[in-house]
């Protein structure tokens, strides 16, 4: 009996929740030209183009990139405009529910390896614009392999509980009412489409972002490396000026003329496609956020 109540409660709590009518009404018609900006801010191609694609092939969103994490291996799917293998036949509502609620057209939960926890903060109109732009990109046939996850992570229904804890459309960093518009724009781009926090913020045991240590750096999802602290706290980038940061986004060179590396190479390549004002805005936001010490543990062995 108790088990039955528990099961019923679980079923209710874990039910995928779609966007409400008011939000859907804000989607608008969708404008492909405006959507290109969101596409580069979001960097869709970094995970959804075939691995190691160059040039125009980066616009063929065939999927296939593998993300080898402690939960298992996630594989980026085909999100090209192909109606059969990609998402070409998704309605605007389908696309918005996937982006902002992590709900697939068939009503199942999507895994947060697709960073809808960030996209939930986006303006609906930007989501519609993005979809309009993606419809202009090539249709590519062929399915990417399925995710390979171990129990219990292979049970999608459980993600409903996870979303109750971690899915929110509220901004992470509170800004004063009179905060500069540039900082507010930067917050939107960084916390929403840019999804910086997905890699630069440490995660708790359940795999949710620890917002009390927002952007303080984290152990990399894959391999043994770390993702740097991009706050102004100790170990972070407090000694970078706003223009240093914006210049890094544009050129890939640090203030000491070291180059961008690792997975940030792809990110920087996308950021270089933005307008200077958007890069400046993200830089202004990073200078304005609360400083934290490094969100990853210090190296185990002393430097030799």
């Amino acid at each position: 009996m108790l088990g039955g109540i528990g099961a019923a409660a679980f079923w209710l709590l874990t039910e995928p929740k779609r966007l409400d009518a008011a939000t859907l009404a804000e989607l608008g018609a969708g404008d492909a030209t405006r959507g290109e900006r969101i596409f580069w801010a979001g960097g869709c191609t970094s995970c959804h183009a075939r691995p190691k694609s160059e040039g125009d092939a980066r616009l063929e969103l065939a999927g296939g990139l593998e993300l080898d994490t402690p939960f298992g291996t996630f594989v980026a799917p085909n999100i090209s405009s192909d109606p059969q293998f990609g998402i070409g036949n998704w309605s605007q509502e389908d696309f918005a529910n996937a982006m902002m609620r992590g709900v697939a057209p068939d009503g199942s939960h999507l895994y947060p390896s697709f960073p809808y926890t960030s996209y939930a903060r986006m303006n609906p109109a930007d989501v519609a614009d993005l979809q309009a732009f993606m419809k202009t990109l090539p249709a590519v046939s062929g399915d990417a392999p399925d995710h390979r996850l171990s129990f219990p992570f292979n049970l999608r229904r459980g993600l409903g509980l996870w979303k109750l804890l971690y899915l929110s459309d509220e901004p992470v960093v509170a800004l004063a009412a009179d905060a500069p518009q540039q900082v507010a724009l930067g917050r939107y781009l960084a916390e929403g489409p840019g999804h910086c926090g997905e890699c630069h913020t440490p995660r708790d045991l359940a795999g949710g972002a620890d917002k009390t240590r927002w952007l303080s750096g984290a152990a990399a999802a894959e391999g043994e490396g770390i993702v740097p602290n991009i706050t102004s706290g100790e170990g972070g980038i407090g000694d970078w000026s706003q223009s240093d940061i914006a210049s890094y986004f544009e050129t890939g060179f640090t203030p000491e003329f070291d180059s961008v590396g690792g997975t940030m190479v792809e990110v920087q390549r996308n950021l270089a496609r933005l307008q200077p004002a958007d890069r400046e805005a993200i830089a202004a936001y990073l200078k304005a956020i609360p400083p934290h010490p490094n969100g990853y543990p210090a190296r185990a062995s002393p430097a030799g």
């Binding site: 890939g252 060179f253 000491e256 180059s259 190296r299």
Partner: protein
């Protein structure tokens, strides 16, 4: 057992010490490369005026430094531990790493042989150098805590 652990620790310390110089040398080469590249970046970013002589000097110094990179001597097996951001992939995929180094040598040699004479020509020249830095750092460098 205790002796074995001590022996292993001593060996680990010795190995770390043995590679400290190799690692320090690698870092010095990278620092030098960054310094020369910085001369070019400042001009492209408009922080410094274009100066053909300075471009030539920087590209020559960069190329001299890069041509001296010897993968076998500077990246011996085991030198992925200690104060280094060298990725284990260097030793897992030595051919891929060597190919990146060879490509970098080609790029800097070509640039040093025909240094840009104006700002418009410098931009693609710096662009191809930057691409080399990035593609190798993308695959073969890992930031550590």
């Amino acid at each position: 057992m205790r002796k074995l652990i001590l022996a292993i620790s001593a060996l680990a310390l010795a190995t770390t010490a043995a590679f400290a110089d190799v690692i320090a040398d690698r870092k010095a080469v990278m620092k030098e490369n960054g310094k020369q590249v910085g001369v070019l970046v400042k001009m492209v970013q408009g922080e410094a005026d274009f100066d053909a002589e300075a471009v030539k000097a920087a590209l020559t110094a960069l190329n001299d430094s890069v041509q001296l990179i010897d993968v076998a001597a500077s990246f011996p097996p085991g030198s992925d531990t200690g104060d280094t951001t060298a990725s284990p992939k260097i030793w897992e995929d030595p051919a891929g790493f060597q190919a990146q180094v060879d490509k970098f040598k080609e790029v800097t040699a070509a640039a040093a042989a025909a240094p840009a004479q104006d700002l418009e020509a410098l931009k693609p020249q710096l662009g191809s150098i930057g691409q080399s830095c990035q593609s190798c750092h993308e695959a073969f460098r890992v930031k550590k805590g």
